[in-house]
Symmetry: C2
Subunit: 237 residues, 2 copies
């Protein structure tokens, strides 16, 4: 937690109230902060700044002299469309993409996505994972998140307007061109599409190609989804 | 598991024996393979190839017609020196660095490395995590791994001969140059050095600088160690 991000409702003029258990725990056990100390904070969806601890106990931390005068860092300008991953890695993926500054995250169904993943209780906790990512990456503006439970209608009806003549790549181990070669000759793409473990099936790659998505490989080694997402986003930083 | 890597002792002429519980489970429940099917295998530290299932039960899988005629993919030509991370992320970090093809991994102590990490039972299981990484990345040759429990003597006495006039970078949020700028003007470095959560302290950065390690930043956002390692290695693939 490199900044504490609070909802709009936490603020009242130049005061703010922190009652989230994880944030309180961080202030007390990691920062070891007490009355008079200054905390780095941000308002969700708005600016970042500082506040001074006026009171702290086991239930609440009250801030005074709150100043929110810093703009959050710019977003990366890339949309990531990801086949819904195993619930176990969903939290870290959402956190990492948010920390990197991805501006739009699309979670889509795919043939190799286990149907049970859509029933995971973790899907109801995306806001929590986004908050963790913002607090890791020092940002206050959440990415847009879209859930696309049906692959074909989303790709055919919605994706074209999102791509809108910009550049979109899908990672596919059997593509002729590698991502490395592609970006050696072209600017970084506006959208990257990454499959579940096992990748997309040929039919999905063809459907994506029909709306202008180009397939590229990530080299001959096979990376975990999480590793591939981070490895790719590293090109932007 | 995209290839099954077996120790030298598993091979006997053109036969091989698999009795590792995870590998057996993978063959039966993921690959759903049975007698007559061909498996992609490799010999640890040697070549890769195929073998045909002659017998399989709950305890053992016997392969026949084993051919090991494929060279493993080349290593990345980069050494990663990492402040020993929290045990929780150690497994994934070793797996990922191995899957990427890092040829030498150094785990080093640092001021911000909790002393208890060196007592973690996971440190005795590095070979297991390397095996997972090889089987993920489709490789048969393990990286070299060095444990450096004392920062100063390792940096002063051992690191110079490892760097040996080649290029070594340490990630530091307060560096003037970013990694992106650096590699825009220079070839990819031969060694990257990454701190624990919280990074290296100024004294450590200075000691590294004294043996020729240059500090670069990874942009204004702060990434988790795991995310930073993958984001950086992504430049090589």
């Amino acid at each position: 937690m490199n900044v504490i991000i609070l909802p709009l409702s936490a603020f009242d003029d130049t005061a703010a109230t922190i009652d989230n258990a994880e944030q309180l725990n961080h202030i007390k056990t990691v920062l070891k902060a007490s009355v008079g100390d200054t905390l780095k904070i941000g308002k969700l969806g708005d600016k970042m700044g500082v506040g001074q601890i006026a009171h702290i106990d086991d239930k609440v931390c009250l801030l005074e002299n709150v100043r929110l005068d810093t703009n959050p860092p710019p977003k990366l300008g890339v949309t990531v469309m990801l086949a819904l991953p195993r619930p176990k890695v969903l939290r870290r993926l959402i956190m990492d993409m948010t920390a990197f500054g991805v501006h739009h995250i699309i979670l889509i169904n795919s043939v190799r996505t286990d149907k049970s993943y859509w029933g995971s209780p973790l899907l109801a906790r995306l806001d929590e994972f986004v908050l963790e990512g913002l607090q890791q990456g020092v940002d206050s503006v959440p990415p847009a998140i879209t859930l696309a439970k049906r692959f074909k209608p989303f790709v055919q009806d919605t994706l074209p307007s999102l791509i809108n003549n910009k550049s979109a790549l899908v990672f596919h181990p059997y593509a002729d061109t590698s991502f490395k070669e592609f970006i050696h000759h072209n600017p970084l793409p506006d959208m990257i599409i990454i499959g579940a473990e096992g990748g997309f099936v040929p039919y999905e790659i063809e459907l994506l190609a029909s709306v202008g998505v180009r397939a590229v490989s990530l080299g001959e080694r096979i990376l975990r989804t999480e590793s591939a997402v981070n490895a790719t986003l590293g090109r932007w930083v």
